[in-house]
């Protein structure tokens, strides 16, 4: 409904607003808002649907619920088996530890590549850059065999351990790029003051890399929270499921009949992402813009 109104509105202004500036910018804002609403309409509709009675979901394109019902959230939270409380807890554990791991390992490696000189640096750096290109699927099968042999299936270890070993080359690269932008004099000054590499890293460099650390944290959290394929491979016991697995199994179990509870849980699963999105917008957009440009 809303969408057609928007289009009419902008068209009308399009005719009027050719000459002077004010109508032109109104036209532009009108178009941008209209297009933005079209884009976000499915999302808005889903949030609305999660508060609707089941019968209304299939008949209403108007996104706002009337009456507002919370039953979907109760039914969804109970889920079809283990329940979403467990899934959310699992997802949180995996995502938080992944962030810690990436911050730890990728920062250390990034610092070594960007600021320290050692034998084989060029070779290792080339290797790191090459892994950026490597599709995950090439490693999927052997990694599964490796982790299965270690008895790690149905634990979070296969999802978390790689993060502590800087396997996400993207973030190492991000750190290297960021550190290259910091003046070399900082390291030299620290060296003159008698600080070793560790102290220089910890007290001088790290506080200055806060934007890169924030970008790494936000993206790691979002990507791990959204990840579906790896948890699906390693977590077969429903008690270890993360939220995406929970959503998918819920969809399978209740078929197309339980859209209300389904949307309720989908909305909840997007909650933390929205939170990070709102809190870290600046870092998110500048983060991808700068890595993009300097690459």
């Amino acid at each position: 409904m809303t969408t057609d109104i928007k289009i009419d509105y902008t068209r009308e202004i399009g005719v009027v607003g050719r000459r002077n500036k004010a109508p032109r910018s109104v036209l532009r804002h009108g178009l941008l808002i209209g297009f933005g609403l079209v884009m976000l309409y499915p999302l808005i509709w889903m949030v609305g649907a999660s508060f609707k009675e089941s019968s209304d979901i299939f008949t209403e394109i108007w996104p706002f619920p009337d009456p507002v019902v919370l039953e979907n959230y109760e039914r969804g939270w109970r889920g079809s088996g283990v329940g979403f409380g467990t899934y959310f807890l699992n997802s949180t554990i995996v995502a938080v530890l992944s962030v810690v791991g990436n911050l730890f390992a990728c920062t250390l490696a990034g610092y070594a590549f960007a600021r320290l000189s050692f034998k084989f640096r060029a070779v290792f750096f080339a290797c790191m850059m090459a892994t950026l290109m490597l599709p995950h699927h090439v490693l999927m099968v052997p990694q599964y065999i490796l982790f299965a042999n270690l008895g790690w299936v149905n634990t979070f270890l296969p999802l978390i351990t790689p993060k502590f070993l800087a396997v996400d080359a993207f973030f190492v690269f991000l750190m290297v790029q960021f550190l290259r932008g910091l003046p070399r004099e900082l390291d030299e000054a620290a060296k003159i003051d008698g600080a070793g590499p560790w102290r220089t890293f910890w007290h001088v460099i790290l506080p200055l890399t806060l934007p890169a650390l924030a970008t790494t944290s936000i993206f790691t959290f979002i990507w791990t929270w959204n990840d579906f394929l790896s948890p699906m491979i390693y977590l077969q016991d429903p008690r270890t499921y993360t939220v995406p697995l929970g959503l998918n199994s819920f969809l399978d179990a209740s078929g197309d009949s339980a859209w209300g509870p389904m949307f309720a849980m989908a909305v909840l699963s997007l909650g933390p992402l929205f939170g990070f999105f709102l809190a870290g917008q600046k870092y998110l957009t500048t983060g991808i813009a700068t890595t993009g440009l300097k690459g």
């Binding site: 409904m1 910018s25 532009r28 804002h29 941008l32 933005g36 884009m39 499915p42 250390l108 490696a109 070594a112 000189s117 050692f118 640096r121 290792f124 290797c127 892994t131 290109m133 599709p135 995950h136 699927h137 090439v138 490693l139 099968v141 052997p142 990694q143 490796l146 299965a148 790689p162 502590f164 070993l165 800087a166 190492v172 900082l186 003051d193 008698g194 600080a195 070793g196 590499p197 007290h203 001088v204 959204n226 579906f228 491979i233 939220v243 995406p244 969809l251 197309d256 949307f263 989908a266 699963s269 997007l270 992402l273 999105f277 917008q281 998110l284 991808i288 813009a289 993009g292 440009l293």
Partner: protein, 335 residues
């Protein structure tokens, strides 16, 4: 921050708590001063040589144990039959031959993936560039618009959105409800082999926000003088775009193109969730990665799955190289 302005001689005398040398805490206070100095100097030098490797240690372990090792093992497995129950059995290039001559489902997954990649990525980039151009005109509220358009790319790969898509394009879904207003008859968009892939393409196009943000940043870098010079020569908007903006932007177009191509080749979640893991109807959404997953983790044909992974790897590499190779004909570098 520990960046003090003292010279080394000062730090020597400073309180023990400040630890001017890395190994100072371990020193015996009764050691003569000169010897202590020499020893700590040696230790410092040793530390300096070792330190880079300590910093790199997690990455080194990760690279050799979780990346390079598995990579080589996967290459080996691709020449075997392996179900995890018995040891791998060497079959030479049989897996690769079978893929291209005796597995119609495989060829179908290649076709589906190519259509998906080569339709959705150009559309996605076109939207991204268009919106970036509009947003780059000193508009008020730019951060808000940027966020609105960026949001879908952040969540587009999640199961939640795939679930939403499955409802939207299902028989009783939102799209049909909207079309009903215009009197268009309902159909199941994801149940129809002719339209199922289209819904996934729309989903990918919807996530044009992240290339858009990169375009926006790039537009800011174009020197204003070029436009001023253009204005002096009396170029119109269209010429301005074709002869100034677009050429200056081509390196970023290439960058976005490669990034999005690599991403699209590896898409998995939407196809899996929307088709319920089957790649149906009639294999019309059988993405390459989905078929790879089925072979490896549903039928436990780990050798075949590994061979598929290597073909994907080579395929992505070839497309990337071709892109770079062709780029010299259309990418403008400012030097």
């Amino acid at each position: 921050m520990a960046l003090t302005h003292s010279r080394p001689s000062d730090t020597e005398r400073s309180a023990p708590g400040s630890e001017p040398h890395v190994v100072r805490g371990s020193e015996d206070p009764r050691t003569p001063r000169a010897a202590r100095g020499l020893r700590s100097l040696r230790a410092a030098r040793f530390n300096e040589r070792l330190a880079p490797y300590l910093f790199l240690l997690p990455w080194l372990i990760g690279f050799f144990v979780i990346t390079l090792g598995p990579m080589l093992y996967s290459l080996y497995l691709s020449f075997t039959n392996f179900s995890m129950l018995a040891p791998p059995e060497w079959v030479g290039i049989d897996n690769y031959i079978k893929m291209f001559t005796n597995d119609p489902k495989y060829l179908e997954s290649v076709r589906v993936t190519l259509v998906y990649v080569f339709v959705s990525v150009p559309l996605q980039l076109a939207f991204a560039l268009m919106l970036a151009m509009v947003l780059n005109r000193g508009l008020r509220g730019l951060p808000i618009y940027r966020s609105i358009y960026y949001l879908p790319s952040l969540i587009g790969g999640s199961v939640a959105i795939a679930v939403l898509w499955r409802q939207m394009f299902g028989h009783n879904g939102l799209i049909n409800q909207i079309l009903d207003v215009f009197g268009i008859e309902a159909q199941s968009w994801i149940g129809n082999p002719n339209t199922a892939l289209g819904t996934l393409i729309i989903l990918n196009v919807w996530t044009f926000g992240s290339p858009m943000v990169i375009f926006l940043a790039a537009l800011r870098q174009i020197p204003q003088e070029l436009y001023e010079a253009g204005a002096v020569d009396g170029v119109n908007k269209r010429q301005q775009f074709l002869h100034i903006t677009l050429p200056m932007l081509t390196p970023i177009v290439l960058f976005n193109l490669i990034l999005q191509l690599i991403g699209a080749f590896q898409a998995f979640t939407p196809a899996f969730v929307v088709s319920g893991g089957t790649g149906g109807p009639v294999n019309s959404t059988l993405f390459y990665t989905l078929y790879l997953y089925q072979r490896g983790f549903t039928s436990f044909q780990m050798g075949y799955a590994s061979a598929m992974a290597w073909v994907l790897f080579v395929g992505i590499a070839v497309v990337t190289v071709i892109n770079f190779w062709f780029s010299k004909y259309w990418v403008h570098y400012d030097d």
